[in-house]
Symmetry: C2
């Protein structure tokens, strides 16, 4: 039976981390909210499921319903060989993913530092201050951490964990992709200092299934409704 | 061998979720950074470990080093019977914990909406706006979600998952405890609407090991250096 992914239909957002992993596995999946009636189905599940997800994305696999991006990837990674089989390696991959989740939340808050219930235009001066801190302190801190992990991986610096691809690699690709869209000037500087991160991002983009996906209509273009938004005034 | 917990020695913070679980298990553990030389040991591990944690807390169990609060609890929960043994139940418990992590991050940002690198005093007008949104929109939304989960639990509404205590119950206790310290007026209102959450909080506080821990010097009092800070101007 095909996986059912539930996520907002017009943005990459957090759902994109799941989409990339599903695409790389080659598994059948339906991006439910992008189909007719799908949004209503998504809302029904959030309201009425015995295990209601707090927010999209969530994944339905038969009777199993899983929310929280990192939990979904933990589940998919184990089933499709996108994480080490040994418990310590699996937990380390998950720990990296959780740190990526923290990074993504901070990226989101650059344009919404005060409230998700206000428009960007209503919190623009605050966004300018938060984005400056994010660009100058947080992006370098996070990307240096990934660079260090790559450089210390006994399996080689082409992957975050072990010798093969994991969902954490796919997620790091997506973060670099999103941040490069949102903060092109800042990212050009930081990626020069983190060459292994830049190389991993490039290598993932050339994987056959990922390359095909990125060129397909299934890949929603970045836009100013999602997590990674290009507001030129926030870059620098 | 005793577990080694590494966390900032003067605050409850995210480390407290791990401390509560360790206390409930009755396992031997050392709160390393509160011992002489412990801070230096913590910094050394963050700098030099093959799997460097991005930030405290992290847990050392022999050769295994685990960062990220939710990943630590996933590990401890499985080893000490504080999560269901079946995979679906374990993942659901973890999903709840990840949502608690999101809630905690939002609680932190009420006093640091612009940057962790600035003092509260340097972002106070912004904190007032963010805290208002957090009190009026976010606290009710999160606590209603927990209330709904309790009410739908086939094992009964005394626990979030199944018939027995899980680490998610301990974490929900801690969030309610922290928010009640930080936002006593707002929490009084919301807890009246979420009686199952209030009852779970009370029941956890009366568990023998938790009650003994809360009265011990091992429990660091809340203060204005941690995640949950009582700034009366942010409550209402």
């Amino acid at each position: 039976m095909a996986y059912e992914l539930y996520y907002w239909p017009t943005i990459q957002g957090r759902g994109e981390f799941v989409r990339l992993t599903l695409e790389e596995t080659g598994a059948d999946y339906v991006d439910v909210a992008r189909k007719p009636g799908g949004m209503a189905a998504m809302m029904r599940l959030m309201e009425h499921a015995e295990h209601p997800p707090f927010a999209p994305p969530f994944l339905k696999d038969g009777e199993t319903l899983i929310g929280q991006t990192a939990a979904i990837l933990l589940y998919l990674g184990a089933r499709h060989g996108l994480a080490p089989k040994d418990p310590a390696g699996g937990l380390w991959t998950h720990q990296i993913q959780l740190t990526i989740s923290d990074f993504v939340a901070e990226a989101h808050d650059t344009h919404h530092p005060l409230s998700v219930n206000l428009y960007y235009e209503d919190q623009k001066p605050e966004a300018l201050r938060r984005a400056t801190d994010f660009r100058e302190e947080r992006i370098p801190k996070f990307l240096s951490w990934f660079e260090r992990i790559l450089s210390r991986n006994p399996g080689g610096d082409a992957h975050l964990v072990g010798r093969g691809l994991t969902y954490a690699d796919l997620s790091l690709f997506q973060v670099v992709e999103g941040l490069t869209y949102a903060f092109p000037k800042a990212m050009r500087r930081v990626l020069e200092e983190t060459p292994r991160v830049a190389a991993l991002h490039h290598a993932v983009s050339l994987r056959a299934r990922i390359e095909a996906y990125l060129k397909s209509p299934r890949r929603i273009p970045f836009n100013e409704e999602g997590i990674f938004r290009h507001y030129p005034e926030l870059d620098g």
